[in-house]
């Protein structure tokens, strides 16, 4: 199997505290990797270091075998890394369609074309496909700020796929989403994985969601990996139970 993402000995220190401490793992093409752990275990810091939103104190990140450590988020985006956000991050005054075009337009054409080119950036067909795939057709022309929380989560996911990414990092996709919408979101992510071999890394607190979605789980506690394996194996691991429930 080909490793899309390789993280080697990644550490992030804040003063004397190690938020992430020598983390090493790989994500393979077509895989859905879940990262779980108690609050303060370093999941978000790890994500931020991978995505260039925080500079790691040590270690290396490679995308398709090429070093991308410390690369700016926008450059990582150009290199095929999409992401969704824990807190909703759509453009509220733009329509669903405009949000989607915006998420893909910076990857299209030359600098001059981006200034003076077609308003849809040649993305109309992709946008319509995404709208249909994420079942956003009834709200496609509404302002994103007026959508329900769950619909905005779907839009956030759809935006992450507009640039045709190699890898998508999902930051708590289930957070605040009602059970019906959560089922729909999980189903859409599984479909993307099955139909397009999309590769995901998911940080999630909702155990049921992450166990049903992911093919492999990685457990962080106090900045270190304490367990790794298929969902059923991780669920029974005494170290994981101890990390979540204590002694």
């Amino acid at each position: 199997m080909t490793a899309v993402l390789e993280v080697s000995n990644l550490s992030k220190h804040y003063g004397g505290i190690a938020a992430v401490d020598g983390v090493t793992f790989e994500v393979f093409e077509g895989e859905i990797l879940g990262i779980i752990g108690p609050n303060g275990s370093g999941k978000s810091t790890l994500f931020n270091c991978i995505l260039g939103q925080a500079s790691p104190s040590a270690g290396e990140v490679k995308l398709d075998g090429k070093p991308v450590t410390g690369m700016r988020p926008c450059d990582l985006n150009r290199h095929g890394v999409g992401r969704t956000f824990q807190m909703l991050q759509v453009f509220p005054a733009l329509s669903v369609r405009e949000n989607l075009i915006l998420a893909g337009q910076e990857h299209q054409g030359t600098a001059v074309g981006r200034l003076f080119g077609r308003a849809d950036a040649g993305l109309s067909a992709t946008v319509e496909r995404m709208i249909e795939f994420f079942r956003l057709t009834p709200v496609a022309d509404l302002r994103a700020g007026g959508l329900s929380f769950g619909q905005q989560k779907l839009l956030d996911c759809a935006m992450a796929f507009m640039a045709g990414p190699r890898l998508v990092l999902l930051d708590e996709p289930a957070g605040g989403v009602n059970p019906t919408m959560l089922g729909s979101l999980g189903e859409r992510l599984r479909a993307l994985n099955a139909e397009h071999r999309a590769t995901f890394v998911v940080i999630e607190h909702n155990m049921e969601f992450v166990m049903s979605l992911c093919t492999r789980i990685l457990v962080l506690a106090e900045g270190k990996i304490i367990a790794e394996g298929p969902p059923e194996q991780v669920r029974r691991d005494p170290k994981v139970i101890e990390a979540y429930l204590g002694n």
């Binding site: 985006n77 405009e98 075009i101 915006l102 910076e106 200034l115 308003a119």
Partner: protein
Amino acid sequence: MESLLYLVLAGLMTGAIYALVAIGFTLLWQTSQTINFAQGEFAMLPAFFMLVALNLKLPLWLAILLGVGVSILLLGLAFKRLLVDPMLRHGVLPLAIATMALAIFLKESVKEFYSAEAQRFPSLFPEQKVDVGGAMISIQSIGVFLVAIAAVVALQLFLSRTRTGRSMQAVAQNPTVARILGVPVERMILLTFAINAALVALASALVTPIYLAKFSNGEVLGMAAFVAAIVGGFNQIRGAIAGGFLLGIVDNIAAAYVSTQYRAAIPLLILIVVIMVRPQGLLGRAEERTV
């Protein structure tokens, strides 16, 4: 006393100028949290750039083009790079104070180095009047109104129908995500400053033939546009447009029906009422900030 129709039409002309200048307030605030208290002086200065070009015997159209170009360079790009960028690192308040100082500097510089006397400025339009529904309106007023409206419509089309305009909106709504998506945020903000400079330069070319070119022109225009932007909604371009027209019409009607002495007080009264009743402005939206 003038007819109500005449006052409303004249108010629309004044309001269109206020709107052009007020839009600049909202553009700069939305993209870079800049409140430019030198905005009035920014609308005064381009007329003097154009006068310098006219003194060199250049035709009016070329003088206006040069004036707009120099304004974009000095009041747009140089203003952003030399004053806004260094000051904004220290917060919104130091920047606001710096723009107040800039306003005084620009006004006094024009007085010192050009002239303290009002200067005649050629009009783009003929002086004749035409009958509009019984009110005699000058072609100049109609021309000013139409050009200002065309500029506002062009700006709205640019923002809503082009990729760059959409990127500018994205930067105003969520700069962090815009940056992650690859939108060149700094370039978009710089473009906003350039657009503001072009709008005030256009306002300057339109209004100066009526009020003459004078170093103090920015005081009234800047205050009126600031009030218009707040009344309409400081975070909405359509608010600035609505506020501009409202203020222009109220200003003219107040001068005719209330008192020319209290004319300047009426917009301030409206401002106080709006701030008390609807602080986000008539068309603005409430904003929350984490402190």
